[in-house]
């Protein structure tokens, strides 16, 4: 019940495409859903996050869509660039807890 399932495992798009990464969870106590971006040899860096009281959040080219009833959320990257090539992790956290539970990660490649 603590798991966060992420798909796809890898994704290749052309520059300008809109990659979409999906995550699903079971634990209804989760109420904070961040996305992290990780470049090789670096730690994860927070990209964007959402709470369940909104269905969508947009920051620059990155958008989170959240479906509370389906317990799913997704990351959309508009006008993707080669510099967006990285591993993306979704995560979830309970208000009462301090740990982040991460998804399995998606390796995104944006071809020029």
């Amino acid at each position: 019940q603590q798991q966060v399932k992420q798909s796809p495992q890898s994704l290749i798009v052309q520059k300008g495409g809109i990659p979409i990464i999906n995550c699903a969870y079971e634990n209804t106590a989760f109420d904070y859903f961040p996305w992290y971006q990780q470049f090789p040899g670096k730690g994860p860096a927070l990209l964007i996050a959402i709470r369940p009281d909104v269905s969508e959040k947009k920051e620059g080219r990155f958008t989170i869509s959240f479906n509370k009833s389906a317990k799913q959320f997704s990351l959309h990257i508009m006008d993707s660039q080669p510099g967006d090539s990285a591993t993306y992790f979704c995560a979830a956290q309970e208000t009462s807890g301090s740990r982040l539970t991460f998804g399995e990660g998606t390796q995104l490649t944006v071809n020029p």
Binding site: Y32, P34, Y36, G41, K42, G43, P44, A45, L46, A49, F89, Q93, G97, S98, R99, L100, T101, F102, G103, E104, G105
Partner: protein
């Protein structure tokens, strides 16, 4: 942007040896964490630390692991007797606790190789 600093970046040790991984969290942060990532797998929570004590730990964080904040700036993870399966990238993270700021800052990690 402020950074979490981890040293060393790489550590090679023999099975059964003790290792200490070191971290300097961001200076005004109050919550500290260790996570690990086995090659090609997801990031896994190990432990959280607040007010000089462990606030939460995972099933991975057994008696072989310990954490300490020895001097008010450093935050360390000790593995008492390393096993082959402890080989992973270990990330330190810190967070400034406030109702509006949940941002967790990660360091660049220490790659631990147990031979």
């Amino acid at each position: 942007e402020p950074e979490v600093t981890q040293t060393p970046s790489h550590q090679v040790t023999q099975m059964g040896q003790e290792v200490i991984l070191r971290c300097v969290p961001i200076s005004n942060h109050l919550y500290f964490y260790w996570y690990r990532q086995i090659l090609g797998q997801k990031v896994e929570f190990l432990v959280s630390f607040y007010n000089n004590e462990i606030s939460e730990k995972s099933e991975i964080f057994d008696d072989q692991f310990s954490v300490e904040r020895p001097d008010g700036s450093n935050f360390t993870l000790k593995i008492r007797s390393t096993k082959l399966e402890d080989s992973a990238m270990y990330f330190c993270a810190s967070r400034a606790w406030s109702p509006t700021n949940e941002k967790l800052f990660f360091g660049s990690g220490t790659q631990l190789s147990v031979l």
